[in-house]
Symmetry: C2
Subunit: 157 residues, 2 copies
Amino acid sequence: MSQNEFQSQEVVSSLEQGLARDGFRLTRARHVVLTAMVELGHPFSTGELEQAVARVDGSVGRASVYRTLALMESRGLVEKLHRSGQEHYTLCLKAEHHHHVTCVQCGRTREFALKDNIDLLSTVDGLARGLGYLPRSHVLEVYGVCPACQKLAGPHA
Amino acid sequence: MSQNEFQSQEVVSSLEQGLARDGFRLTRARHVVLTAMVELGHPFSTGELEQAVARVDGSVGRASVYRTLALMESRGLVEKLHRSGQEHYTLCLKAEHHHHVTCVQCGRTREFALKDNIDLLSTVDGLARGLGYLPRSHVLEVYGVCPACQKLAGPHA
DNA sequence: CAACAATTGATACGGGGTATCAATAGAGGG
DNA sequence: CCCTCTATTGATACCCCGTATCAATTGTTG
Ligand SMILES: [Mn+2]
Ligand SMILES: [Mn+2]
Ligand SMILES: [Zn+2]
Ligand SMILES: [Zn+2]
């Protein structure tokens, strides 16, 4: 846990440096919200984020939570996950276009790029072209059981 | 347009018959909401649906719009589209698991099943397995320019 | 037509997100 | 270190969407 906290600080200040580099101020509220995001680890709903922020520092206003969330989203560092039902967000480490595999049991999300699988990339575009469409973009999200949760469940799955 | 209206009536009563078959009552409110859905044609937000319903029959209550929408969604005849930003819905013709190609210009949506392209289907699952996941489900939505809009735009695209 | 339950529309309510705005606190220069 | 200037903040009020409630209505079945 101490090791984890150390890494978290790293990630937070890395994100902050990015903001500072682009002329955004390094403020207490932003620091708290970023910390909450990183410590959540899992994809989070806005409600969960609000709670986490309040836990870290109850004096941060609700509006600032949404402002920081929007700021991060506009910079491509936070993405909406299209889970069924409520909308969820997740921190993004890689900046380029990518997708997510989400574990249906523990909720942990992992990023992957189609570049790693050129077949699929060209197939998705080819599929659109096959229907006469000029492909522009796509959304792909995969749900399953992650390796860790498979081990926990034992040989019956 | 007269031809279109005729087809619309067909679709609406087909949907209604499905409801009746399962013991749901054939009510005025439902008829109006279904008519609005069908006549919208495009994927629609809840707000657009409310407006369309009001246009068809202003006496239908707001609650019934959402009730009918939920009913249709529970029966798999309406699906949420994961467009960026606001949530949109679209009528579904095919009942099995399928995906959507949406035109970024005219907004028209077309359904397709991965069965038509076994490569992609197995690749998506294979991709999850390649990351150690036990695949369960996925969401794939493609955006592009539809054939009709390509023609309208002319040779410069 | 009667009887009964499903469904409806009106109403009021709740949660989530935002516009507003005076107060605060970064950042940068003297 | 202080001063200035402006980005940013927290509080408040507000709005919008969706839903719970409930008496009134309307389908359905016989
Ligand atoms: Mn991501
Ligand atoms: Mn569909
Ligand atoms: Zn897991
Ligand atoms: Zn089009």
